[in-house]
Symmetry: none
Subunit: 218 residues, 4 copies
Amino acid sequence: MTSETPRRRLAPEVRRRQVLDAAVAVFSEEGFHGASMDAVAARAGVSKPLVYARGGSKEELFAACLRREADRLLRSVQSAAGSGDDDPVARLRRGLRAFFHALTTRREGWTVLWRQASTGPFAGEVDALRRQIVGEAADLMAGGLGVPRAVALPYAHTLVGAAEGLADWWLTSEDQETVGGTEPADALADLLVAVVGPGLAAIGGRSLGSSTAVSPER
Amino acid sequence: MTSETPRRRLAPEVRRRQVLDAAVAVFSEEGFHGASMDAVAARAGVSKPLVYARGGSKEELFAACLRREADRLLRSVQSAAGSGDDDPVARLRRGLRAFFHALTTRREGWTVLWRQASTGPFAGEVDALRRQIVGEAADLMAGGLGVPRAVALPYAHTLVGAAEGLADWWLTSEDQETVGGTEPADALADLLVAVVGPGLAAIGGRSLGSSTAVSPER
Amino acid sequence: MTSETPRRRLAPEVRRRQVLDAAVAVFSEEGFHGASMDAVAARAGVSKPLVYARGGSKEELFAACLRREADRLLRSVQSAAGSGDDDPVARLRRGLRAFFHALTTRREGWTVLWRQASTGPFAGEVDALRRQIVGEAADLMAGGLGVPRAVALPYAHTLVGAAEGLADWWLTSEDQETVGGTEPADALADLLVAVVGPGLAAIGGRSLGSSTAVSPER
Amino acid sequence: MTSETPRRRLAPEVRRRQVLDAAVAVFSEEGFHGASMDAVAARAGVSKPLVYARGGSKEELFAACLRREADRLLRSVQSAAGSGDDDPVARLRRGLRAFFHALTTRREGWTVLWRQASTGPFAGEVDALRRQIVGEAADLMAGGLGVPRAVALPYAHTLVGAAEGLADWWLTSEDQETVGGTEPADALADLLVAVVGPGLAAIGGRSLGSSTAVSPER
DNA sequence: TATGAATGAGGGTTCATTCAT
DNA sequence: CATGAATGAACCCTCATTCAT
């Protein structure tokens, strides 16, 4: 006989994490409609009823994925940007670095959040989460540029899109060594700041991304 | 038999265009997996077998939508950028404007291309199309910046991503009046140039998006 | 190769009748919850999607069975009893004969109506249909006995139960020849009239099922 | 480990009674197929494995319910009818009263027995139980009418069916006050005797349910 | 030709039943 | 002993696809 994995009994929250991880992976690959609960169960290495027991219905499961990934991303960016009294520009840069770090290390969660479910039963919820995330960037930028939040909003969307495009290129390009010796996420963030920094500075009339932008702080 | 008015026999190309139009609409709203061939047939006002006769299988139909919309986008950007011998910066700007024009006027096609097909069985094809578009931008930028194409590539990805983010914001924001009196697509393109122009200029050491960038040419 | 039945194209109402017949058979044997749409499809000799196309969801299918069988039974009894001006007693007897005929020839429909779905999502509808049917008997009895309808109601229920018990015995007993040469349903009806006629007559103070009751009219 | 109050360990028979009681309640409400073992466990206030430990599989549990309720009904009717040497008519009347008493006071058991189990995998078992009860009635009637048992059988089926119909009406009718001041079960039994007594008497040629039938003994 | 009719296959969900603690 | 955790099997329903008219 084959050495089958025995039926392990695990704590509910452990199983739930397993199920959510698998669900994020599958949803990010196939989308909400394209993903099957069978695939989620197989990816998690559990039976389908267990997926339902720990994750609820397909819609509930997807919503849980959305919320978890959005929370993680928001928390990570917020904690990196800090709420301290230091320079808004520094805070923005730290936030960007954290954002890139999340993009490149948790690509699946980002895909679920951003590219999936823009239509369907979750359009509203997804849109709200997106607004929260971009709003965070807009807040930082409004502080850094000294402009009202409403003005900063399109720039924030532009920034997030640019980051996504850059991350996509980074993740799909084969020779990922070209960026340099530093932490990739940091290098990407610095590249982005180099691209958009001067323009934003000119818009805000302040020194965002000054000459120091291209030689990022350590 | 009764003498009912038979369905008008139309030329095959006309029928195919009807079917593709309906398919783009339905796919953009529901996604590949969420859309049903019944919905496509209903939207086109024809029977289901006709959809198969003119559009092929669901995958073929989706691929045809993808290619048609991508072709339109590419052609429009290329024809706007021109192959003339004039200023690469002006060509880039014209290309960007055409890009935004296509995004904002053919939203459904854009949605099908970018948001619905970026995952699932068409990720590869979408990626290829995307590389074509980005490659176009990279060529323009390589010319404008005076750098090798390989160096321009990440910047091109960043630029296209930024354009996507900005277009997404524009398409989903409710108060679309805030941008200004000019043609929206042009205003968006100019905004983007204002953001990334100075940074790219500094990188390339040339005058791409100089001070005139923020006061766009007419 | 085996001589498989070819895929026949039939008119929708013909298929619907097939599906309803199969559904009545399966529901009467297994009950609403116990019946599976697979079993209905198999019994009808069609595929499952066709059951849905012609019969709707399981609940709709069951409700359609209910209504069809109730209509048939009601119509049959009403048309037998007539609305003429003749003797109420004769009308009651004719109604009973029709009722027994329906019981013994369409047992499945009766089972669906009477024994199934007394609980569940159809309790209300089933109860209403039951009340209609018993109400018909109560009306006839009220006319025959010269008592108010409300008084006749328990007797009607008693009569219907007695008929069911008698029919059950008849249908499950092996030597069904013992009843006699007449039409079985008529013989059963006459037997029932012989049992309950005198008692009901005494209650109503009229001649329902007088001495002629045991020698039924031809 | 924490010192939680452990579930009280009860004697096996006590647990089994709990489980059977819950099962009868749930089965009577939902039917065999509609009831879930989860519902039984919840109603009994125990865990599901305990239901299996004390009640066996779902089919065994249902069969046990069936047998317990049938035994109670049979025993009650037999003990009421007695085996004494007194008047068969009086014995029949007492048996009927006990029958109605059981029906009206143990409605759930009756529902399980008759309405839920008359079809499905237990039709055979229910039929056997029904034959036992009807056979009891047939014996009494054979004695009372002075006819062979085989002749009395259809009348017994008719009688039991009538009793069921009357009991169903009584149990589902809302204005249960219309019957009178006496014990409902007795009133129902007397009503039934008034309906079928004279007819049976005429058939048997003896005094079963003579004029005294309509003014029942106390 | 254009279509209504038909189906094989698969997805979401639940349930009876059994381990491992 | 008593339980929460886990699963194989089945059920309802829909969809992409294809005939027969």
